[in-house]
């Protein structure tokens, strides 16, 4: 009898712990999202009850203006906002899963890779592009550089090539997932980033002509150095810009 009472107590405690875990509050966001198959409406903290935010750099008007799809007119202008045949407000959205890519300490003739994910929702008339470029090749403060990769034989900012040899050095990236260029035909195909310092044009890394929600692609960054590479922290800035269609 004592043993069964003991067992009952244990089960009760486990049940209590489980319930406590499930109902205890988790981190809550400051705004709500309403999501359906066809639309997503975002209600933000649009100043109501919170005063008018301001700082040295910005000031926000408290009126909600012409952000709903529709026709607005005045004496000197006519305006259409949004895609007229899509009756919901569908924001164009773009997410990057990690905005710091750390390789740590690089080891000669050993590939170092890291990844992040790009996600685009283009719910209006469809069509979008994501453009990518780097400000310059990986370089230290002393301007020592790790050049952009030429892959095993050749590759560029517009055309990917296979890169598997550890005696081929440089920095490049691979794409996998939705809406990626066709030349990323395998996990071993890499491109250089378009180099802004040499006036190379940003290149398309994701694009679609269709309406799409949560279109996702993974970027794999890869670097390899020779044993003669000067020591230092090699860094650069990679820019992704998502542009909706018209």
């Amino acid at each position: 009898m004592k043993r069964s009472k003991r067992k009952l107590s244990i089960w009760f405690l486990v049940l209590f712990a489980s319930i406590a875990y499930l109902i205890s509050p988790s981190r809550s966001f400051a705004q709500e999202r309403m999501i359906s198959e066809n639309y997503r409406i975002i209600f933000g903290n649009l100043n109501s009850g919170a005063g008018i935010p301001s700082s040295d750099n910005y000031f926000l008007d408290s009126t909600i203006g012409q952000t709903a799809p529709g026709l607005y007119s005045s004496t000197n202008y006519r305006v259409k906002s949004g895609f007229q045949y899509i009756h919901s407000i569908i924001p164009f959205s773009f997410a990057i899963s990690d905005f710091t890519i750390e390789f740590g300490t690089l080891t000669p003739e050993t590939f170092a890779t890291q990844t992040n994910t790009l996600t685009v929702s283009s719910g209006g008339a469809g069509a979008y592009q994501v453009l990518a470029s780097e400000n310059n090749p990986l370089q230290t403060l002393a301007a020592n550089q790790i050049p952009d990769t030429n892959c095993d034989t050749s590759c560029s900012e517009t055309t990917a090539g296979t890169w598997t040899s550890t005696t081929r050095y440089g920095f490049g990236f691979n794409m996998s997932g939705n809406d990626i260029p066709a030349d990323f035909s395998s996990a071993n195909h890499f491109r250089q980033f378009a180099d802004e310092s040499t006036a190379e044009s940003p290149q398309v890394v994701m694009s679609s002509v269709n309406v799409g929600r949560d279109r996702q692609a993974t970027v794999t960054y890869k670097v390899n150095i020779s044993d003669t590479q000067a020591a230092g922290r090699y860094q650069n800035i990679v820019t992704y810009t998502a542009v909706p269609g018209f």
């Binding site: 405690l13 509050p25 400051a30 203006g65 407000i89 750390e102 690089l106 008339a125 909706p244 018209f246």
Partner: protein
């Protein structure tokens, strides 16, 4: 009741788990997650006039962001509505740079701070100079994050930007000059009865201002009176766009929704340039016949005939 030691341990463990278990949330990577509404604004505006556009910028990232607005010239890159922006943003040396401001400050001069989880409204003032030529101007406004993260070792700081497009037609009268040519209205002229045709519509904007084709493709004939609504998609000045059809709010191929066609049908493409422009009409004829069905029936008939002939021979 005597409380044993191990019961006390269990109670303590349960309390700790219940209070702190949910608090030790999943550790999130540093994300950048932005939204902008509306994704497109179309303005017809007189020289010398102002217009204040308002954008909703959302920050779904796990930290506050500071976004810098930048102005880029934009153009069509294909026939499907894909926008291409210039390599570099407009700067102080550009006339267009001085058309835009946010609360009195030019683009590139101001940072817009958005706290995590919030949506804010950003007013963008467009001021058209008095002497501006009456043609179209197309721009993308990019709200770009600031790559200020300090890396511990070798690696990349990632900068993200999200754009919204603005199509501007400058016109003193509010009626910019619009013109169009049907570049292509094609489909199979002879079709199988069970395979209705899909229409390809490509329209060229031969005028000075962007417009949307407002109209439909009608097909009439034997037991059919079909109307496919053209999607009112923007066609920029000097460009060609392939136009889809609209099924409620969905973009679809322009395909007749019919299970069976037979005989001659008249197909007409008719549209106006926006709601007030001139009307363009072109028509063609389709002939439908159950070719595959006929071949199948004929094949079966030949087969049956041969089988009967063989069986008669074997009886003989």
């Amino acid at each position: 009741m005597k409380i044993t030691k191990y019961k006390l341990v269990l109670v303590f463990a349960a309390l700790v788990l219940g209070i702190f278990g949910k608090s030790t949330n999943t550790i999130y990577a540093q994300t950048l997650d932005l939204g902008v509404t509306p994704p497109i604004t179309e303005v017809i505006i007189a020289p010398g006039a102002d217009y204040q556009a308002r954008y909703l910028l959302s920050n779904f990232s796990d930290s506050d962001v500071i976004l810098t607005p930048k102005l880029y010239k934009m153009q069509a890159t294909d026939e499907f509505g894909t926008a291409k922006i210039a390599d570099d943003p407009e700067d102080e040396t550009s006339d267009y740079y001085h058309w835009f401001s946010i609360n009195g400050q030019r683009f590139n001069q101001t940072g817009i701070k958005i706290r995590t989880g919030l949506t804010i409204e950003v007013p963008v003032l467009l001021s058209i100079p008095e002497d501006t030529q009456e043609i179209d101007h197309y721009f993308s406004i990019v709200f770009a994050s600031d790559p200020t993260t300090t890396l511990a070792g070798s690696g990349q700081a990632i900068q993200g930007g999200i754009a919204t497009n603005m199509l501007i037609a400058v016109s003193k009268t509010g009626l910019p000059q619009k013109n169009a040519v049907v570049e292509e209205f094609s489909f199979p002229k002879i079709v199988d009865s069970f395979f209705p045709p899909t229409y390809t519509v490509r329209i060229k904007n031969s005028g000075n201002s962007f417009f949307k084709p407002i109209g439909d493709i009608t097909t009439t004939g034997y037991f059919l009176d079909s109307s496919l609504k053209l999607a009112p998609q923007n066609i920029l000045s000097g460009t060609i766009r392939e136009i889809k059809c609209l099924d409620d709010e969905d973009l679809v191929n322009c395909t007749i929704n019919s299970k069976f066609l037979l005989g001659t049908y008249k197909t007409q493409l008719a549209f106006t340039l926006d709601t007030e422009g001139r009307k363009i009409v072109t028509s063609e004829t389709i002939f439908a016949f159950p070719f595959l069905g006929t071949i199948a029936i004929f094949g079966v008939w030949i087969f049956v005939k041969k089988v009967r002939k063989s069986s008669k021979k074997s009886i003989a």
